[in-house]
């Protein structure tokens, strides 16, 4: 199942084949199965001269700022805007790599790409690229890679917890404890229930793996469902199968990236297809779900509950009704925030993709610029 790597007519040896829907582990790095560093064999054929579009005080980037970089790689400067990099010493060195983690990097990134046409490769520390999405970026010729797979297993754990939270009726347990009330009530099992995964990418795959161990039925939804199979997915739908997936699922996990196609995907109409016992869990991006319609459904009891780690506006404004709804499990976009997760992501750049770049090897975690994720 080798991924094909072909060389375009351009001078860069690193064009990747467009195969972004492949679950091939040679292309996507995944911490559960991530292999030890095999990228350090072969001769070094070029240097990596790196600009870091980051907050210089970001401790998670320590390995990049202060640590030892692999042979052939050099960090030129850390900055947050074009002005920071406007020095002849930098210009003369023809930087060819940009590492991005700054939250306000969208415009500066495009400016940097214009200023430094020598840049071939942009790597972002996060999995989501929506924060830097722009025509300027997506229409450029640079190769874009990200941190897909870094956070999947942690989010999968959260997904199962959110399902169990409602299945065992944790809100009721907490209330009964407060009331010193020993009242036995029946609980639901996840075993035999159906989990529908909207956006069956790496997070979806990791969640499906756990869900199958629990004995759940797993349905998936992908942009390109043709010929897609996964050992942990019982049935996969294309985009036109969304309503059916919603109707069949007891638990719905939204783990899609935010793109023009997915914005507002879960609309009022979509939600109306759900079972009244359905639970919606969102670990993708807030804007994928029509938040007003979701709130309405929760208030009216048209769905049983929701577990939301992402929201349309973050931090969640105090006026939002979500704070007060009893059937909502809210978390401040931290369900993948382990103590080390961002550091691990930076380390992935340093010890996995950088050595590959300097040796002219295939980079892991390519982003499909035309698809936006």
């Amino acid at each position: 199942n080798r991924h094909h790597c072909f060389y375009s007519a351009s001078t860069s040896p690193l064009q990747l084949a467009k195969n972004s829907d492949s679950m091939d582990n040679t292309v996507y790095w995944n911490r559960e199965t991530g292999r030890p560093n095999i990228s350090e064999d072969g001769p070094i054929i070029q240097e990596a001269r790196i600009l870091a579009l980051c907050d210089p005080n970001d401790a998670f980037n320590q390995p990049l700022y202060d640590g030892e970089l692999p042979e052939g790689a050099k960090l030129l400067k850390v900055g947050s805007s074009l002005a920071d990099f406007d020095e002849s010493s930098i210009i003369d060195q023809n930087p060819n790599v940009i590492f991005v983690s700054h939250p306000n990097a969208r415009d500066p990134l495009v400016q940097l790409l214009r200023k430094f046409p020598s840049v071939e490769w942009v790597h972002t520390r996060s999995a989501g690229v929506d924060f830097i999405a722009s025509d300027g970026l997506f229409q450029s010729s640079v190769q874009l890679t990200n941190a897909k797979g870094m956070f999947s297993s942690t989010l999968a754990e959260y997904c199962m917890m959110a399902c169990s939270y409602f299945a065992k009726d944790l809100p009721r347990l907490m209330q009964q404890k407060k009331d010193v009330n020993w009242e036995q009530y029946p609980v639901l099992e996840l075993r035999g229930a159906t989990l529908g995964i909207v956006g069956f990418g790496d997070i979806g795959r990791a969640s499906a793996k756990l869900a199958k161990a629990y004995g759940m039925t797993v349905l998936g939804l992908k942009r390109n469902a043709t010929n897609f199979t996964d050992p942990h997915c019982d049935h996969v739908y294309g985009m036109d199968g969304l309503n059916e997936l919603m109707a069949r699922s007891d638990y719905v996990l939204v783990s899609a990236p935010l793109t023009e196609q997915t914005r507002g995907l879960i609309s009022a109409e979509t939600l109306s297809q759900c079972k009244s016992s359905a639970v919606i869990i969102n670990v993708g991006r807030g804007p994928i779900i029509n938040e007003e319609a979701l709130i309405e459904s929760l208030k009216k009891g048209r769905i049983k509950g929701a577990g939301l780690d992402v929201m349309t506006v973050e931090p969640l404004p105090k006026e939002s009704p979500l704070w007060k709804l009893d059937n909502v499990l809210l978390s401040p976009h931290n369900m993948d925030m382990t103590l080390t997760f961002m550091k691990e992501s930076t380390e992935f750049f340093i010890s996995e993709n950088l050595p590959r770049f300097v040796r002219g090897k295939q980079l892991l975690n390519p982003v499909d610029k035309s698809a936006g994720y």
Binding site: S164, V187, E189
Partner: protein, 453 residues
Amino acid sequence: MAALPSSSRSLGCFIRGGTQCRRGFAGAARSYIGCSSAPSTSESSSMRTREQHSQQRPRQSSSIANIHRRYYHRSSAPSKKSWDPSLDEYKYWNREESKHGEASYVLDMSPESIQREARILCLADERDDADGPLTDRSTSKLPFGSRLLHVGTTPDDFPDSLVGENPNVLFVSPSCPHARLQLPLILHKFPTLEWIHVRSAGIDFLESDELPRVTKRGIVMTNAKGQFSSSLAEYAMMACSYFAKDVPRLLKQKGAKVWDDFDIEELRGKTMGIVGYGDIGRATAKLASVYGMRVVALRRNPDKSELDMVCDEVYGTGKLSLQKLMSISDYVVCSAPSTVETRGMVDADAFRASKKNQVFINLGRGPVVDEEALVSSLKDGTLRGAALDVFATEPLPADHELWDIENVLISPHNMDKTATFMHEATEFFVNENLPRFILGDTLLNPVDATRGY
């Protein structure tokens, strides 16, 4: 007393009267427990392959019965090569993996394969509708060759005339009040009883000085082991995540409308210690291993888990083993039954050995844990938190300290109580073990009355 094969390798392995009892138990009940005739214990017999095991069973004269028995036991062999007790359907019935009512099909197809009748007495509160699949005459469908004679809660409820009908099967429901007193009296009144099936998994509610008489009389006892395991495994993982993702903090922040993105923990890479590695322990281990946790287990017979694929390390029983397990586990799941040996097993010494920030989960039986020591450990910060579904006294008294301790998740012994679980437990008796009894086949879920589980 034969020592168990690799007892020398395990820490503090118990090899006391258990072995002897098993031999006697197997000897008396040989005709339908199907243990090998050699005194090698049922443990080592289960080390053999499924095919070898079936060959050991006694043959009946009827050739039709032979054919059906071979068909019936020609189950699809599991793909796992290692011996996994949960797959050994000759011993333990497990809802996820066992096939339903094969024996009933055989009985339906060829009634002449019946070896004996089942004349059933039911020790239960007649208002308990969970016993419905057996007791509700309007809906119950008992297998051919079986009859329910009477339902009652004391010996006096059962008319003396029944003695002459030679009842041979007793179904015991936890709904029967003072069952531990009634059981020996029923046994005394009806000397023809051969088999007792207990509807629940725990048999501690039947514990008394008289109970070992069951074994002495050669009465076979079976229970509902395996019925509740997957629900409890789900609860165990939820309890771990509850602390790893700090759900209490999430709820507090929500109540205060505070958006504070704090660091959370993963379960992946952490160690789970399972005290009492039975069916529930194994179901939990199976989930924990898929999460990427390291699993260590403690059980009376560690050699039985040598080849277990979801468990990384197994210890035998004993204070030192328990303390070792406590010292290396981030999450401890206590799923041991309550017996004379396990009472108060998890004591102050065990908690003193706890790994820093440990979470303790009890879903077995309250008395296995020294509740006072547990409360102290929660209050003084020895434990990060606890999730308890069982308690020494249930319902938990309203004035008990546990209600007020913040880092405790309390549930009213309901984490396995799905809407249908007790019905399913009775159905297991009606559709699985009862047909097996009638066909003269191995009964599932044998229990050692003397050992207490």
